[in-house]
Structures are given as C-alpha cells and as structure tokens.
Subunit: 354 residues, 2 copies
C-alpha cells in the first residue's frame, strides 16, 4: 500500500509545536504526507517538518480528504465538532481533548498499557488521556499486569503548561515581577508584588498567584467539591486499566514548575509487592526510567526530566502499614508523554495496522 | 506566686526570631522576666521584647538559674546536650528539635490535641513536633475526637524555610539567578542557569534546584528508602494522637515556597464522616480557619496563610470510593504553628499550671 497520510489539527498551538518537534526527531517516519491544519487565522503559515516547509491549511471538511490519521490538539469544543467530521471523511481521529475520553464507543489508549483497544473504535475516534492521568499510566499499567491494582491515592504537582501557553506566560510574568524584590518579598506579599507590577489576578489562568505558591485547584468544579481534573484522574485510570471498580482518590495541585507533572502515588494491589519486584518491572519497561537511589541523592525531579519521552519513577517504598502497597513518585513531561507523544505513539500503532 | 521566668534558647535563629515576634504581639503576657539565650557568638546582642531592650546571654548552666520554662529553638545536638541541663537547674524545657520527640518519657504536645500530656514529663522535658506533622495535627486531632482516625495517606508541599535560614536564602538566590532569563529558560535549563550564576549545587541545603522545580526529598535516608521526614510524620502523628497502630504513608516533597507547609491528606476513620460534619468541626475549632468554597475560587494557599497563627483547611471532600474517608488540603505557617507558636502555646499552658 502507499504510505499513509497524517494530519495534525492544531499545528500552531502549544502541544502542536511539541508534536512537530517529535515528528522532526523520530528515527522512523512511516508517513507519505503530513498535512498541517489550524484555524483560518494561522492558515498560510509555513512550518518546517523534516526539512520541508509545509503550509498550514485552514480547518475545513475538505482538509481531511485523503487523510488516513488525523491527530487533534485543540480545545474540547473544536474536537467535539471536528473529530466526527474527520472520521466521516474517512480518517481515524486521535483526539487529545476531553471531548470523547469517557465515550463508551471511543477507546482511551496508552500504547504500552492497552494498545489492544486501538482496534475497537466504532466511531472512528480514539481518545488520548488527560496529561495528569498519563503521567502515571506507564508505571501503574506495568505494576497492574503483575500485581492487580485495587486502590490508588494520588496527589499531584502539576506544571503551569498544563494550562496551555497562557499558563507558561503567566508563570514567567510572575517570576519577572519578583525580579529585584526577592530578598524583600515575604511569601505573603506575593499578591501585592504582582498587582504592583501590573499583573491583574483577573488575567491569570490560575485562581491564585503561582510563583512562590502552590494552588490546590485545576480544572472546573464538579459535584461535591471535586475538581474536573481530579475526576479525570479517577475515571480515565479506570477506563485505561480496565478496572471499573478501581478505588481512587486524587488531589490535584498546581505548582510553580513550567513543564512536567509529578505525582505522589500510593497504590494498593491484590498481591504482595516488594520494592525489588517493582524495580525489576520498571527497569524492564522501555518507556520508564527508574531513578531511585536516595543515598546518592538520586530521584526524579521535573527539572531533570523535562523534554524527555519516558516517565521517570523513583522513591519506591513498600508501605510500612498497608499490605500489598507501594508508595512512589513519578515525573512525566506533560506536553510530551502527557499529550503530543502519546497521541503520536497511537498514530504509529495505527500506521502498523493500516 | 511571682510571675514565672521564661527563657528562649536560640533567640537569634530563624525560629527564635519568629518567637520574639510572637511574644511582642501576644495580648496576654504572663511572664515576669524573659531571658534570651544564644551561642556565645551572639551574646551581648540586644533584642527588643515588648518595649524593653534585652541583652542576649551566652548558653551556660547558670543561664537557666531561676528560669521556670526554657524554650529551645536550636539544632538537635544542642538540645540533646542542654535541655537536660536546663531541667536539672529546675526549668521545664520545651524543645523544638528532634532530639526528644520519640523518647517515651517525653510528651509530644500540640495543646489543642493533647494538652493533658503536658503534666506527664518525668524528664522535665516536653517536645514540640516536627513542622510537617504539626501542619495537620489541629485538623486531624479535631476529626479524630469525633470519628476515630484509622489510616492516613499524606503528600506534602514543604517550604524552603523548613530547611532554616539557609533554605530561604538559597531559594531567593535561585530566583535572583533567573532574573532576566525567565522568557528564555526552559525548566530543564534551570541547573545550568544556576551554575552560570555561580550558585553551586554543593552549597545548597536542597539536593536539586528548587526554583521552577519540586524535590521529593526532605531529611536524611532511613530504612528501606524512607526519608527521616516521612517517618517523623508517621511516628509523631501516632504519638500525638495516641494511636500506636495508626496506619500512615507519607511522601515529603519540597516546593519553591518560602514559608508555609501544605499537605494533601487522605484520612480514613472508624465511623462515617461527611463533609458537613467535618466543616462543622473545623469551624468550631478556634485554631483552624476553614476556607472551602471552590465555586468562588476559595481554598487555602501558602501565600494567603503565611504569617498567620491558625491552620487553614479547605478542599474537604468525601472520598468517592473509600468508606469513612475524607480528602482535604491544609496549609500552616511552618515557622509559627509549625515551630515557634506551638512551643509558645505549650509554655502558656504550663504558665497556667505553675
């Protein structure tokens, strides 16, 4: 057959930009044509992909003609409208928004965990998980295969870029506003310092200052005080792992980190689990890097792992008081494995099957 | 009786400085005399306490003569040597170091939780808990009285000042090193930016860059990968609450916040617990401020609570999948309630009984 045609919808956004970086650095490249699609505002822009200047075309039904696989890195409402149109035109849509993740007719895929779900796509749409969920899926999927996951308590340390380019810009602006005032500013004066520098709280994508602070909120308010981000972690983990009754409590907290989400994970299994067994499983999983030697000061931190493809795992401990339970810490680049990379890996899996 | 004499050992340190601020702003002041004690290096220095310039005296056995209560805000090894000397000289020592916390003959006291333990002090020493443990004790103690705590899974967001003045200085220096480079620095370049600014990793009290980063480590390495800070949370919570078999898993993480520790808490009780009942308990506890209205963007963050005496609680949710379980978020100023304030409150309790 001829080499398949890959489309990228949202080519000029924060995740789209990372996607182009991934395409430019991938060793194998199975695509006969890459088509870059964006809003009419960005149409005509030229972006270099693997040595060729490609012209961005405007989103339209016709833009999907001849496309085999269309990756969507756009807001929920754009995906909700356009992924079905792409599917109608014959493309398989891989959507990175929240529009289809919990749709029973749309598989939610992390290739190293549930690649088998890729072929079960009655709507012609495959969904990519939320970046916070994704950051722990490689590690939990690998442990679940061996020990059968039953319960999960997680607390997140989420990066500003999870809120898109405006989140990154805001964090940089807040840091700049502190410049020269570091030695004098007590943490409690942060809001005043930001206001004095002309940074209005109303203009922030975050509900509180993020610099020199942490903010226990991400997403929108759902039932009974839970945030949308916390429910995504629960519901998406259940769907990806195929454990409909998995017990989950998640607390999602934004921290002043540009890129890379971290999670503190407390995971209880049906069977006995040791640190040695977990280390072996993590070492054997190609998409995980184990950094776990605290005696030598070695554990994953966002600054060490940003820009990398793998999930980094460390601080693996057997819970002292909970049977069959591990506590550990994971870091994953939320724009790569947490978004663009996983979507692209799903596209690669599909390319093998076309 | 004559008004009691209060000594402060470590008057010139980070916590000692906060202690003097607390003494200067307390409405009732039961002390007949305040004696400021520090290392010989600081002796002779004058510090104003409630309008009087007091001269710091050098630490010596004689410095404790006539002292009723001696508060120690000094490193473990200094407390280990000198608190027993103060007790021998007739003072009751209240020690904020880790030297005596797990000593069976030394009570570990949080006044609103276990004030009754104050009188049970065979060595003449009372210990003040670790700041991370303390940040959640007011809230857990109040819930435990009503619902009987059984299990605890916590993840911390710990401030730089938990590592003392050198931690504060380092975080400010790291922020200053970023100045002017914000727009260009990707999170992954932080270590290089710091090195280029002359900030050696070897000079940091933290094992990794803290600015634009989080570091899943605090304290020293203990058995099986656990950090000393994580074991303190477990062992001190058990002792303070009087639950020797309390199940605890803690993961301690340092974040780029100057002052105020935060904790994500997942707490399981023997009896059914609702958000409404928990709200009522928190509202009735004078040392807790409940900020829990996410629809209005209201929840505690370190920037809001630093410099305050209470523990701030919010994000209270009934766990969706775990019976009798609450998830919530607490913030407490680690230099005040987490250290100086609690020590001073113990001294006030003692003053009532002298």
């Amino acid at each position: 057959m001829t080499a398949p045609v890959l489309a990228l919808v949202g080519a000029t956004g924060a995740v789209g930009t990372v996607m182009i970086d991934i395409m430019n650095t991938r060793s194998d490249f199975p695509w006969g044509e890459v088509r870059l699609i964006a809003s009419p505002r960005s149409a005509g822009k030229k972006i270099n992909v693997r040595g060729q200047d490609l012209t961005v075309v405007a989103l339209s039904p016709e833009a999907f003609d001849g496309v085999d696989i269309a990756m969507f890195d756009v807001p929920d409402e754009v995906s909700a409208q356009w992924a079905p149109i792409a599917a109608e035109r014959g493309a398989i849509a891989i959507d990175n928004s929240g529009a289809f993740r919990m749709d029973a007719d749309v598989p939610l895929v992390v290739p190293e965990v549930n690649a088998d779900q890729i072929d079960n796509r009655p709507r012609g749409i495959i969904a990519n998980p939320n970046c916070t969920t994704l950051s722990m899926m490689a590690s939990l999927g690998a442990l679940h295969r061996e020990f059968e996951l039953k319960e999960l308590v997680v607390a997140s340390y989420q990066a500003a870029s999870g809120a898109g380019q405006s989140g990154i810009d805001r964090l940089y602006a807040e840091i700049a506003a502190l410049a020269g005032k570091e030695a004098g500013v007590a943490a409690g004066d942060v809001a005043q310092v930001l206001a004095a520098a002309g940074l209005s709280a109303d203009d922030s994508p975050f509900p509180a200052p993020l610099v020199l602070n942490v903010v226990p909120w991400a997403g929108s308010l759902k039932d009974a005080g839970w945030s949308s981000e916390e429910l995504k972690v629960r519901n998406e983990a259940r769907k990806i792992l195929g454990i409909p009754d998995l017990k989950v409590s998640a607390t999602c907290v934004r921290v002043p980190v540009v890129t890379t989400h971290s999670l503190s994970v407390h995971a209880t299994f049906a069977r006995e689990v040791t640190v040695e067994a977990a280390h072996k499983i993590f070492e054997e999983q190609p998409t995980i890097v184990l950094i776990d030697d605290p005696a030598a000061g070695k554990f994953p931190t966002p600054a060490d792992v940003v820009g990398g493809d793998p999930t980094y795992v460390g601080r693996v401990r057997q819970a002292l008081d909970f049977p069959n339970t591990l506590d550990f810490f994971v870091c994953g680049d939320n724009l790569r494995k947490g978004a663009a990379l996983n979507t692209y890996e799903v596209a690669e899996e599909l390319a093998k099957r076309l």
